[in-house]
Symmetry: C3
Subunit: 349 residues, 3 copies
């Protein structure tokens, strides 16, 4: 705290059950969508073209799920993770309603867990963050846990409370953001592939082939577009001699998702993120490739139109993904792996 | 082909007369227009301001012709040129209807020619690509030919078929995308120049004076905005030791067109592209200048409001264009020339 | 002048009282707003969210004041400062009406002063530039003075005329662009801070804490978005051996303004700019920090809802602003200071 400016919250500032309303609601526009396209080159027809989306049952082309996630996540940064030592994980992320250009997003977080570290210098904060639209409807929620510095090592530790988190979102709750789909109107020439839900099988691996090289201006513009204020992404001066700005982890997720169009062109919606791990940092100059494994296929109760694939998408850098790089041994990843993401995608059946 | 992902078509995959519907229709928005402005700095009043466009007869400010071209072209890349050895040329490109924000563009290509190369390793594919709007109207079409690798040298060669292509689009068909123009409402203070169609003469040369330096983030964002997936533009890792990403040829065309405002401010519409040659590759760090020669002036039958100039615009890099760099000898261009574009522009009379 | 292309005006081309209509009116869209967010990461709730803006009395989220300024300024460049030796200053900049997406901006300048320099090689041109919307309403005006080269040293000098400029805009005229504010609807959780007009006192200093590193692609895209054609920002080839492209001064102002959210979150509107000095040039790679001093607090006659703070915001580069870097001695700034801006911001009372 320097006069009226904020230095963010420290571990002692969080109380179990506390609800934090994050600043700066955001009206999402076609401008945001265009920038998202320019930054990631996404090609899913549902998000790209109003008539395609309308033909199958949407009101208009919905905003890319990850753009919604990044905007909600960005709002939480000044309150939750400005003094983070590390972003440890997220879980139970559910996309609940479509977001359309013109909708306004706002975010709140509830503190659902706290545990001081044994070194007394930091602690782990668990929050459930909720993104809502201008009608008060929840469009997204997720749990996230972060290691946050203490302001003062001598502060008393709170009673430890660690939430139970499911390893995966129950498929029964998926696809709430997908309207009843008119499958007969789903044009596979326009969507770019003829593979539907039933064509994928557990254990199947898909190389997404292409790679994209990251530039400083790109990840900075992306992260600012999301109004994410985490300092490590923008400031080479503060990074010391290396001058290295860390690429926002969500930038890698969006790159991997965009690359995954090649092999998953009809998996047009991310219904849930079960968890994810940023295995290694990425920097400007790195080239990101991606591959996916189908972990599980699931019907969605009451939905004869769509089914869900549980996917594990790995992003790797500075090596191709044709050989499906994964674990080096039980505990560590192969050289080059930067992201291990576990999520549910929805496809037409 | 790696599992369900696509490696693009090879020469053997193309059949004469085949029609390919390209994936991912695209609703063009004010966001795309803003990005186009940020990437090229275009200043033509018709495309910049709704009231200016409406005063002279448009429904609103139309989308820049080249943005439309790049989007349609981008859609064709995954099907036509992913395995291209070289983009050899294009011809007979006609802009037929204005595109407005909110319109949705889709693309199809018809194979109109095939000829295997004598080395049997590749062949030339000629396609006519058509861009249409959400009403099924053709907004753009053009012919393009590409040298594409064969999957297997031993494959049988198709019957050779090479289309006859006109050296220039007939001026009689130009300006279909321009509404009847209210010339009295065309404000030369706002358009930026007082030179109209009748003020230009064949043989006249115009230096466009300024230069723009290309950054990696710029050409990558541009090319992704166009949903163009050609690998050479995005991947420094795959480029090997040089790490050089090739700038999309259309990026150079748009830079040259934007620079050409200085000297051609009232040439607000590209009605047709007769042909173009990417004389040399461009890379980030290159500075692009441009100059134009008026090749021909033409009346457009039935149009007393507008006339056409056939322009040859040369883009050069890392040297100014004040001395009109062109041919070094009969067969080769002067050092620094990167683009030789032959097109019809429309101006008020 | 090279054929039909323009080389810009020289000192001799300006006449006292002359009115210049600048080219290329511009319809501002949500796309421009999204790019502005991506370039600067601004987080003021009023400009970010339609419902927030509507709740307090706006018709919709207004366009950021500085985006309006940059667009109007950009239009004046080709006519006023293409042959500038130096941009010397600006004064009496007043933001008079809100601008909303869909509005069209146009600019004119009146020459209000001329004085040849004693070396006879250049002279100072004073212009009052006015930005208007599609209804002819003035949204912005300001005075700017520039040292412009003479075409010919031998040209006769005009009668010297130097306008009297106020050191500060009278607070009585501020906040014309702010509708009567429904203070009870102004949500401090969403705005990001609880400090209102009455909480600030003259002499108070605020460090804005964060820094942002500038990339070439960012400042080039920004400056082109503003359709600003000043050559020094885009052309590394013309910059000679250094290859250094100068960052548009307005880019620094926007970075500083965006950083100032941390400490001035409720200062949602720039009502006037009293003056500003670009103390030193900035280049890609520089990291910009900012701090502000409250110079004066002022009531606005007839406005019980809002008050004004006269702020002096300093941007510094490649050093933090925690120690409030300012003057080294009476005449020179401390190392690293790049901007000294004096403006009126409006806050709820």
């Amino acid at each position: 705290m320097v006069g009226k400016s904020s230095g963010g919250n420290f571990f002692e500032d969080f109380k179990l059950g506390q609800i934090i309303t994050h600043a700066t609601p955001r009206t999402v526009t076609g401008g945001d969508v265009a920038l998202y396209t320019a930054l990631y080159g996404s090609r899913f027809a549902v998000q790209s073209a109003d008539p395609f989306a309308r033909m199958i049952g949407y009101r208009a082309a919905p905003v890319d799920d990850l753009l919604v996630f990044h905007i909600i996540f960005g709002k939480s940064v000044p309150d939750i993770s400005l003094n983070a030592v590390a972003n440890l994980g997220y879980a139970n992320c559910r996309f609940l309603k479509p977001v359309y250009p013109g909708d306004t997003l706002a975010a709140t977080s509830r503190v659902i867990g706290l545990r001081e570290n044994s070194n007394r210098r930091s602690g782990i904060v668990y929050v459930q963050t909720t993104g809502s639209n201008q009608h008060g409807g929840t469009v997204l929620d997720y749990v996230r846990w972060v290691m946050v510095r203490k302001r003062d090592e001598a502060s008393a530790a709170p009673q430890a409370a660690v939430p139970q988190l499911e390893a995966r979102v129950d498929p029964a709750g998926l696809a709430g953001a997908v309207p009843p789909l008119d499958r007969s109107a789903y044009d596979v020439a326009l969507s770019g592939a003829k593979h539907f839900w039933g064509d994928y099988t557990a254990g199947e691996r898909i190389d997404h082939v292409d790679g994209m090289t990251i530039e400083e201006a790109e990840h900075q513009m992306a992260t600012r577009l999301f109004q994410n204020t985490a300092r490590v992404h923008f400031n080479s001066h503060a990074a010391g001699e290396s001058g290295c700005r860390l690429v926002y982890g969500g930038h890698i997720i969006s790159l991997a998702r965009s690359l995954s169009f090649n092999g998953l062109a009809n998996a047009f919606h991310i219904a849930a993120i079960n968890g994810g791990r940023h295995v290694a940092p990425s920097y400007a100059g790195d080239t990101v490739y991606a591959w996916s494994e189908v972990i599980e296929t699931a019907e969605i109760p009451g939905r004869g139109d769509v089914g869900a694939l549980r996917l594990r998408t790995l992003a790797v850098k500075n090596r191709t993904s044709a050989d499906f790089p994964l674990m080096a041994d039980e505990n560590s990843y192969e050289e080059g792996v930067v992201l291990d993401l576990d999520y549910w995608a929805v496809l037409p059946r």
